[in-house]
């Protein structure tokens, strides 16, 4: 049976990890390549880099980071942040990434997702959705610019549309929960996962192993993305997998 995936996410700015990884064996915790290698050894199922470099002119830096990562680790790598053109995607895949995640550009031009999936294949196009609950309602809206701009678009309907346009996977971040450590938005995760056929990665709010379990089991997510609980060494990937596995979640255990 297919296992559920545990995906650490590294925020990278100007070629450096923003929230430093707190592993004892790292010489340079700010180096994304070294952090990626540490997660590779720790048994992560995939890795994600979110490039938050503000300037489009500095994109060469992330390309170099991807290249050096791909030279050293043999694990699926997703790269997101600031992707606007087919050329951006091509450069990232050529450097050695397997998937790109598209967020704002999809909202501005949904056809971009269609073109990207037709050109490169659905399997490498992840659509990232930042969603916030509508006040007092069992509904969520799509936000852009790190949760500042409300597009008014219904998040569930948007996910279905992105699937139709060729998204191979949805990365769903709850903007209400992101950075809170109080747990994923389970109703959102479940509603969206039930609405689409493609895999859903839950993101935003992980603070402990129970949260991961809820997202994967009750939320129906296929994977969980987390940053701080791994970076700060709250849990190792191995601990998380062991506990989840004992609770009946299908995990890939590594030696």
């Amino acid at each position: 049976m297919l296992t559920k995936r545990i995906i650490p996410c590294l925020d990278v700015k100007d070629g450096r990890v923003v929230k430093g990884v707190n592993f004892v064996d790292l010489i340079d915790a700010g180096d994304p390549v070294e952090s990626a290698m540490a997660y590779d050894r720790a048994g992560a199922d995939e890795l994600t880099f979110l490039d938050i470099t503000a300037s489009h002119e500095k994109r060469d830096i992330i390309i170099d980071v991807i290249r050096r990562t791909a030279d050293n680790i043999f694990l699926p790598l997703t790269v997101g942040g600031g992707i606007r053109t087919l050329e951006d995607i091509k450069a990232i895949l050529r450097a050695g990434a397997d998937k790109v995640s598209i967020n704002t550009a999809a909202v501005h031009d949904p056809i971009f997702v269609k073109r990207a999936s037709e050109r490169f294949g659905s399997q490498c196009i992840v659509v990232a959705i930042d969603a916030k609950q509508k006040q007092g309602k069992n509904a969520w809206e799509v936000y852009t610019h790190g949760g500042r701009n409300n597009t008014g678009i219904d998040a569930i309907g948007w996910a279905v549309k992105m699937e139709e346009y060729g998204a191979g996977e949805i990365l769903l971040t709850s903007m209400d929960r992101d950075g809170t450590n109080i747990g994923y938005d389970i109703p959102l995760t479940r509603s969206l996962s039930d609405a689409v056929k493609v895999p859903v990665i839950a993101s935003g709010g992980a603070g402990n192993i129970d949260h991961l379990y809820e997202a994967l089991d009750i939320g129906g997510a296929d994977a969980v993305l987390a940053a701080s609980i791994f970076h700060y060494g709250t849990y190792t990937i191995g601990q998380v997998k062991k506990v989840l596995s004992e609770r009946g979640v299908n995990m890939r255990m590594t030696r």
């Binding site: 049976m1 791909a70 699926p76 294949g121 191979g168 056929k197 493609v198």
Partner: protein, 209 residues
């Protein structure tokens, strides 16, 4: 030194395939030139994307004949993911399209109604899954029954020739995840994305050249 040609026809992440071979001490280079393929000691056909687009690209780059020629003359040949699927007769992806027709069989889409408990299984089949070994083969001599590999695909191989099936994998149905006939090998999973367990397959393939 002997060299493996990794065929470039404009699709996907070839760099990881090349680097994966390098990591296990096998020389590999990326090429789209028929003469390079014909003179290589081993050939790898990677690939992601749509079946028809890939066949069209191979055709446009005049790579179909060289591929058939190296297969016929006994050069070790490895298809990965879509590269495995292209080896077969035809595919149902977006209409019926002809493949390289080196191995018999049809590429079919996973059924829409596969269940796990009360939930529909997602398509693409994306993530880590196990293989069950059906037949001994030098390609798998470092691989154990039940090892995990990384998969990403919505279509699978359906072959009438059960003798070519090396491994199967369970995802709603029990599908063929690796094949072998003479010098032709194919894997549905991505060895270059399956950490050390994946690279062992590259090492074994490198030893055949």
């Amino acid at each position: 030194m002997k060299k493996i040609a990794v065929i470039d026809y404009g699709m996907g992440n070839l760099r990881s395939v090349q680097k994966g071979f390098e990591k296990v001490g096998v020389d590999a280079f990326i090429t789209d030139k028929p003469e390079d393929i014909l003179s290589a000691d081993g050939v790898v056909l990677p690939g992601v994307g749509a079946f028809k687009d890939c066949m069209d690209n191979l055709e446009a780059d005049k790579l179909i004949e060289p591929i058939k020629e190296v297969v016929a003359k006994g050069t070790p040949f490895l298809g990965i993911c879509l590269g495995l699927q292209l080896l077969f007769t035809e595919s149902e992806e977006f209409g019926i399209h002809k493949g390289l027709d080196i191995l018999p069989g049809r590429i079919r889409r996973f059924p829409a109604d596969m269940l796990e408990g009360d939930r529909n299984l997602k398509v693409p089949h994306m993530g880590w899954n196990r293989i069950s070994i059906k037949k001994e083969c030098p390609l798998l001599s470092d691989t154990a029954d039940g090892d995990y590999f990384y998969f990403v695909h919505s279509y699978y191989v359906d072959t009438p020739d059960k003798d070519i099936i090396l491994t199967t994998t369970d995802y709603g149905i029990n599908f063929t995840s690796a094949v072998c006939r003479d010098n032709v090998y194919g894997v549905q999973f991505h060895p270059e994305k399956s950490q050390d367990i994946g690279l062992k397959i590259f090492k074994r393939f490198g030893e055949m050249i």
